[in-house]
Amino acid sequence: MKAKKGQVRVITGNAVAAYGAMVCRPEVVAIYPITPQSEIAEQLATFHAGGILDAEMVEVEGENSSMNVVCAASIAGARTFTASSSYGLVFMYDALQEASGFRAPVVMVNANRETPGIHAVSSGQQDMISARDTGWVQIIVENDQEILDQIIMAFRLAEDYDIQLPVMVNYDGFYLSYLAEAVEIPVIEDVDNFLEPLKHQPERQKLVPGVSMGCGTHGMEMGYVEARYKHCQALERVKNKVDEIDKEFGEYFGRSYGGQIEEYQTKDAEIVVLASGSAAGTVRTVVDAKRAEGVKVGMVKLRLFRPFPAERLIDALKGKKAVGVIDRSLCFGWKYGPICMELKTLAVNIGSIPILSYIDGLANLDVNVPHIERVIDEVNAAAQGKPYQEVTWIPMEE
């Protein structure tokens, strides 16, 4: 069975995120506006005012409340959605951990933006990276269509009985927030069909009026250990589930993204660039150009950041001669970028090859074609045994 052809519209990434949430019929939505995400809140409010979205829209006084509202509504059984960015994500830090600790299947969008300390109202993945140990599933997408498709897949993943975890869909703020692209919006009944399997699963525990059940409390000693163990086991299950849902989405809607990671020209590649988010599109273009010059290069696009797709990355990178990792954020206390640092933990499985860390694209600086050409040239030289620089902050050398 295939989905019907949806309506194609040219809209911004933020509007796409609102459409993505709307077609999944959330029952409770609580969003506090923040640049570069505010348009999501506006658009969903417009849908609600126009009668297109039948949801409880809760007006909150800040992001901490927005996450607490959707978390509570979620454990009461509602399908919930929220969105935030940067300072907003930081302000809901405790509530993020409550949502995952309560195993509340909240779906949220985070439009990536730099974090407090240096007031840079600009793109960067630092906010998402700073929330990596909150126990959430974190997925990074590349373009507007992928925003929409991934939100639908996120609901299917979060609410799966075997998972029951909150999912954060991340996209580059400013770049994708305000970029209008042609996007196919699925017919809402087809989204219903795609989410239908959730209705045939066992019902998760919910708060019910009159029944004095408590959630997340009294985790003393072994209660705590058991709950955390189950949480970590569920995160492990997320990996294969992401691949399965992506495959099923592809069969039904005709679009798929590779699941945990996308491999581009990696089969016969000798060297690989590991990238994520909107920069992956540019990397793909440069890979094509370098291939035309005879360089056997490929790209791996990291889609799933938490849980970290260790097995898929080992499969993709084993036998390669060198890897370059482009990080759009920093790992305070480590000289490598965060994604590079995590990849390095797999070195024993991948083989002792050069892994070059590149810091680029901070604070709205473009990860542009010359930068990626440089990365590929240097990784290629390292693969041939030439000396290389372990960590390079590309903008600092320009």
């Binding site: 600790g101 525990q205 059940m213 408590g214 997340g216 009294h218 250990v225 189950k230």
Partner: protein
């Protein structure tokens, strides 16, 4: 990994019945003062039970009494009672009870 632990929770998250499992710690030993009810003043409104942090106010049918195994003596019930029917009395007064 060999798991020897027997699960406490039937659910993925730490869900349990608030009537019994929530009161799992002997917090009564922390108390320096205890709530003492004047039944004549109590009109069974239930505010003390609603506000009680460990939820240990027991419904006695026409009034509420703290379960002293769990009451920490925080005094919120006495503070919230609109009829001043609850007084906080030093534990020293009950030393003879052991």
């Amino acid at each position: 990994m060999v798991i020897k632990h027997k699960n406490i929770f039937k659910t993925e998250s730490a869900w349990s019945n608030a009537d019994d499992l929530l009161l799992c710690l002997d917090t009564g030993s922390w108390r320096t003062e205890r709530p003492v009810l004047d039944k004549e003043k109590c009109n069974y409104c239930g505010l003390c039970a609603l506000f009680c942090p460990p939820q240990c106010m027991k419904d006695m049918g026409d009034h509420f009494l703290p379960d002293l195994a769990y009451c920490k003596g925080c005094g919120i019930c006495a503070q919230e009672c609109p009829r001043d029917a609850i007084a906080m009395v030093s534990e020293g007064e009950f030393a003879d009870e052991g």
